[in-house]
Point group: C2
């Protein structure tokens, strides 16, 4: 059975009415690389933009094995039971390579999918302007317009993703494990410094004591690092995805963060900066892509790179040479 093609009015009304089917189709539109779809998507975003921006945007990352998925599922269920409407998105640029997706297997979150107030959307694949980052960001705006007041953005703790996600959320939660830094081997440089909260997960049973020690140790490390958010001291704590009270404690810290940053103006300032930065990084990406895609540059570049790497051509001369071609 073929769906009726929705008009811009249909899309707008459906989203503002929190119609999940329309929201899903709108996200598909936003994720499409088809130029016609992109045009419609932008017109739709323009319309819903004034209704967006109202959620608490939370980025969640951690190394594989830290128990992110279970924690997100149980936290999502808890928030729904508290009366929130929760959207769970994923940012995983690598999925476009592997064909997989971190939230792809929705059946993993079997309790959360049963919650009528939860909306789960797996990672989009890459593609044109802005790639996965743009798509996730615009999906977030659509979810907000549809009335979701908490957005959880999941990412894996390796690669470039963290910086992308940090630039689209208010609060950044880093899920750790006890084990004195060993698990950081797989974690990208600087991830601790973009977090607003470090939570040592799996603090249950015999692991409570090691987890507390690890959190204390991370707390000391944080003393030596710059906080990620102006006016907020990044904390380290413990939690267990299976102990509801510990998830409630995490949520309390997040609410405290929201209150602090709203009062100080840091929240509004960051949101504005994020939008402008986002625009500029897309412009830079587009300039770079147009440059790298040009036939002349593709012919020239490998040989020039080789000469520069082997010290037979000064880098600045190489740049002059290349810039004459455009």
């Amino acid at each position: 059975k073929k769906r009726r093609k929705l008009s811009l009015d249909d899309f707008e009304k459906g989203i503002l009415d929190s119609n999940i089917s329309v929201l899903s189709q709108a996200i598909t539109l936003v994720e499409s690389n088809n130029p016609e779809h992109e045009k419609t998507a932008q017109a739709l975003l323009q319309r819903i933009l004034p209704k967006s921006g109202t959620s608490i945007r939370i980025g969640i990352t951690g190394v594989p094995g830290a128990g992110k998925s279970t924690l997100i599922e149980n936290m999502g269920c808890m928030l729904c039971e508290m009366g929130h409407r929760v959207a769970i998105l994923a940012v995983d640029p690598s999925s476009s390579v592997t064909g997989g997706s971190i939230l792809g297997d929705k059946t993993r979150m079997e309790n959360l999918v049963k919650q009528p107030n939860a909306f789960i959307r797996p990672s989009p694949s890459g593609g044109s302007l802005g790639g996965v980052g743009r798509k996730s960001r615009e999906t977030m705006l659509l979810c907000e317009a549809a009335g979701y007041d908490v957005i959880l953005v999941e990412t894996v703790g390796v690669g470039q993703n963290e910086v992308t996600v940090r630039s689209m959320v208010d609060f950044y939660l880093l899920i750790m494990l006890s084990g004195a830094g060993d698990e950081l081997q797989g974690m990208k440089k600087g991830v601790i410094e973009i977090a607003d909260l470090l939570a040592v997960n799996k603090a249950d049973g015999n692991n409570i004591q090691p987890a507390r020690l690890a959190a204390a140790e991370y707390g000391r490390v944080l003393e030596f690092l710059q906080p990620a958010t102006q006016g907020w001291k990044t904390k380290a704590t413990t939690c267990s995805a299976f102990e509801r009270p510990t998830l409630e404690d995490l949520w309390k810290i997040i609410l405290e963060f929201v209150e602090t940053t709203h009062a100080s103006g840091a929240h509004d300032g960051r949101r504005k900066d994020q939008s402008i930065q986002w625009m500029h990084s897309m412009i830079e990406e587009e300039l770079r892509n147009r440059f790298l895609r040009s036939e002349k540059i593709q012919q020239l570049l490998p040989d020039i790179e080789h000469q520069v790497a082997n010290n037979t051509l000064p880098a600045t001369s190489a740049v002059y040479q290349i810039m004459q071609e455009i």
Copy 2:
């Protein structure tokens, strides 16, 4: 008395003969924003490039008050006495604003200036392609061709400079003070993670014990961070600019680093990556500048930024709109 204008051959010969007057003039040429000078400078660099790359390149940073200048002066004197030829350069993009320069007041290093084997060059001012970073990098190449086998690149521990300097040196030394992280307040995020060695300075007199404690604490912090150089464990130690044996110890660590990274291939790999990265970052800067300088964009951008910041125009739409103008 007007100097005779040097030919390209004069420049090349003078530099390879370690003629300090010619080297100084060549650096002035490299620092010039005059297009004719730039052309000559690039031709000269092309010639001397095969003779460059032979030094140990060391970046040194620390917050103001950490005692960088004294440490650099005394270390420079020590290295000269050991038989090295030492060039001391400064990277301080802010100097183009203040008109000052971190090494500007050469008289501060009164012992070092007397060393015939030391060459001190204050920070250039900014300007065209690549700015201060390009000029310092090319000055480094000229010094190497002139036979300087240790290059110390000083920078202040705030702003963008550290990343620029990290991308041009082999080894990065971060000068700290005791005081449990307080001094990091003025230090940019991530600086610890680009260092190969943390040295807690002023470890003399009553301050030896606090300095040792601080170094031990930093050592524990480093356990939680990714090392800056593949195959090298970033260390934390103490030193005093006034205690020669502690400077000898720093030097031993640097030599150990050099040996390790040469053996593993990390040194060669990094040098090649740095050259290619340098070229690409200049290309990106040039693309961005050409874009931002265009009249149409300068007219459009403020209003578009305002709309994006205030959620009345989607960022992606803004990018489409802007990209149509070029």
